[in-house]
Amino acid sequence: MGKLGRQSEAMNAAPGARGAGQLASPGGAAPRLILQGISKRYGDVIANEGVDLSVAAGEIHALLGENGAGKSTLMKIVYGVTEPDAGSIEWEGAAVTIRSPAQARRLGIGMVFQHFALFETLTVAENISLALDERVAAAQLAARIRSVSERYGLPIDPQRLVHSMSVGERQRVEIVRCLLQSPRLLIMDEPTSVLTPQAVRELFATLRRLAEEGLSILYISHKLDEIRELCDVATVLRNGRVSGTAIPRQESNASLARLMVGTELKECHLEPHEAGATQLELIALTLATEDPFGTALRDLNLRVRSGEIVGIAGVSGNGQRELQAAISGETLCSERGMVRLCGQQVGQLNPAQRRRLGFGFVPEERLGRGAVPGMDLADNCVLTGTGAGLVRHGLVQRDAARAFARATIAEFSVVCESEQARADSLSGGNLQKFIVGREIRLLPKVLLVAQPTWGVDVGSSLQIRQALIDLRQAGVAVLVISEELDELFAICDRLAVMAAGRLSVAVPSAQLAGETIGQWMTGGFEAAAAARVEHAAV
């Protein structure tokens, strides 16, 4: 705790900060869960050391920390996935050893994972039925899924196949699955990262109701606003150890972030900057979809100029996936002129050809699309680095690829063993930094980034956002598709909203209120656009 001095502000703001967990437990009742001195090492790496944590009945307890701070390991220990090397767990007053997730569920512990374990070829109901420990008749289960999902504002159709669902929709399935088992402690790993502001509010109302009914919630997140709004107590982890506990309502974002990161964070901000020529243009982009659950794109128009960042807001599943594929070339357009890149009509060029014109792309799915899970980082640079000299005369230049990967790792402070670590050995946030770094270091003229900081911690998020802003200063045209409005407002010059396969006009962010965007997300922009046209005609 050598940095205690610097944390004094945070500490002062939360009187008696250490042990605040106990202070917050109502009426002196025994806490539902007590962790004492939990330690876990993986080889030389300390994941957790001497972690104490106490969660009272009906308490919403935030677990805060950077990527690699040990949050996930700690939660895996509570959920029985991993056994601790040392320390004790007390559940509802009795010492327990939790050997398996099944046992954890029997004790009354549920967990919503950040990475979803769903079978793509099965329906929602079938997936949930597989995950339940008891047998439930299909019809009855579907009815229960419907009632739970409606009650908690998480609309899902039990009969839909998972493979056709967006990331956001899949997460709803996971949350509903847990709630079906009526747990007494619910662990949620970054649950709001894919919800609209309205849906987050509804979820919070749900969580508060659940907490009032006596459910304890362990809430892992890096969104400080949300934690301050929702959580009763926060335990902050840094480098595997508890760096402090606090009552979030009495803290500021800055003081919480300081506890988490250990140093002062600088906010990124947009310098006023003159945009240049149009580099990416969509002209009446219309695209049917073969996927029965896909979204057809209808008459999309957009311009992104060099030296500006344009954001597309909206809930996933409204055509973002299809739009990304149409811009990247994974889906070809019916007419060449629907997509223009650096002045050329590219609607029917494949992704490699578009990349040669100066296009870069960071997709939403990191593992399996942005990177090959079983290949090492150097080989993963070859994926898009053909033009950067990583392939010459039809031969892979392994040394060049390794050098490229090493430089990317260094420049974007990616935490990994070496450039020869497999992509699937990296944490989500680190892999994202690596992919963003790879695409940026390929010096694109146009960069498309989907969900740039989904599940990425505060420090890394800032780094990624700053990197995008640096690109803008360097004259790159950047298009960001994200569900996080705060992020879009922080880095975008102009914002458009996507709903039901249509795109609103892009408006300077400063002229746009969050509430307006909320309305637009449900398709309200068409009326607004019509009004504007009339206005212009007058």
Binding site: G368, G370, L383, L395, V396
Partner: protein
């Protein structure tokens, strides 16, 4: 997954945190060992002395120079076919019709030898080899075209084309290509000397095809490890979405994989008919093209592994023949060994990514055996 264990413990199959490096290396030898033990248990049950059987099966066939030559001779088509299909298997392109491409290679290469052999003089053999490679490729082009154009399964199409190829060969040697001087046997005239693949050394039948197979193994390693095309095949197989993202053409991958497989199988076919067989006849292969699938997996789709695996598979063929002669065992004994090998191989493969762990079942529910 949990298996019942009466001692109050349960065996649980759980995913390893990372793939076991040791199992990756020992899985194939382990499978071969389990196959041997099973084989000898079966032989023992049939009343054969296991030691004698082992000797007959594995020692006698290779205890002479001629025998060693036979080992390499039989390994040649297995090696060629397996090296051809392995890159496709890495790329999720499942050409299981090497047997058919082998047959068509024998037909096109053999046809050139039979009808233009005299005219081509000492260019006959190179022309035959090229014709055989092109013939195998043409046969493999059918499933490739149907998959890329109509999304049909190359597994079924390539398999069905095996039977068509065999019937085509049968028609030719029963009809238009039948040797007029062959006393009505369904076979072509024998190849002239200039149309035969030369033997490597006197006293054994192993021929130049074995050298081609070794060269192909080296080439195949270089292709997979160094070239961009090999890289694209690997990405296409292990992460199709990443391949689409990178602009790797699935169509190009399918065509490339099928052409490599067809060409190599066609080459194997001509080396067989213009080698040890010496003419075209209705049956020219004891299932090399199918056994090559086992060889490819036994060699873990790695070229050098395939070289070793094809030698083992060849030894099984030889042992089976020798066991038929000396122990009066049915010819299906080779098939039994092959089948057992594939079975144990797939089982051993599982333990690369999974492990068995004994867990005390008192805390976890295990369905208790219902007492009567």
């Amino acid at each position: 997954m949990r298996l019942f264990d009466p001692s109050g413990w349960a065996l649980r199959l759980e995913r390893r945190p990372r793939a076991s490096r040791i199992m990756r290396i020992v899985s194939s030898p382990l499978a071969a060992l389990a196959m041997l033990i099973t084989g000898f248990l079966v032989l023992g049950a049939l009343g054969k002395d296991p030691l004698t059987a082992f000797k007959v099966f594995f020692i006698e066939p290779v205890s002479s120079l001629y025998g060693l030559g036979e080992l390499l001779l039989k390994a040649t088509p297995l090696m060629l076919c397996a090296l051809g299909i392995a890159p496709g298997y890495r790329a999720n392109v499942w050409n299981i019709g090497a047997e058919g491409q082998f047959t068509v290679g024998a037909i096109t290469g053999g046809g050139v030898g039979l009808f233009y052999g005299a005219f081509l003089a000492h260019w006959a053999l190179p022309a035959m080899l090229i014709a055989a490679v092109l013939g195998g490729m043409a046969w493999a082009a059918i499933p490739a075209f149907l998959r890329t154009r109509f999304r049909t399964s190359e597994i079924f199409v390539s398999l069905m084309l095996v039977y068509i190829a065999q019937l085509l060969l049968s028609y030719l040697v029963h009809g238009p290509w039948r040797d007029p001087a062959g006393q009505n046997f369904p076979q072509s005239p024998p190849f002239a000397d200039n149309a035969l693949v030369p033997a490597l050394f006197a006293g054994a039948r192993v021929n130049l095809g074995f050298v081609f197979a070794l060269l192909l193994a080296g080439l195949s390693w270089w292709f997979g490890a160094k070239t961009a095309a090999g890289y694209r095949l690997r990405v296409g197989g292990s992460a199709p979405a990443a391949a689409a993202y990178a602009g790797i053409s699935e169509r190009a991958n399918i065509w490339l994989a099928m052409m490599i497989g067809g060409g190599a199988a066609g080459l194997a076919g001509i080396c067989e008919v213009a080698g040890p067989i010496g003419l075209l006849q209705p049956v020219i292969s004891p299932g090399y093209g199918y056994a090559a699938i086992i060889v490819a997996f036994l060699g873990r789709l790695h070229p050098f592994g395939i070289v070793l695996a094809s030698l083992l598979m060849s030894a099984l063929y030889l042992g089976g023949e020798s066991a038929q002669l000396e122990l009066q065992l049915p010819s299906s004994v080779s098939g039994l060994f092959q089948g057992a090998l594939l079975f144990f191989l797939l089982a051993a493969e599982l333990f690369i990514n999974f492990r068995l762990r004994r867990v005390r079942s008192s805390r976890t529910r295990v369905p208790a055996p219902t007492a009567a």
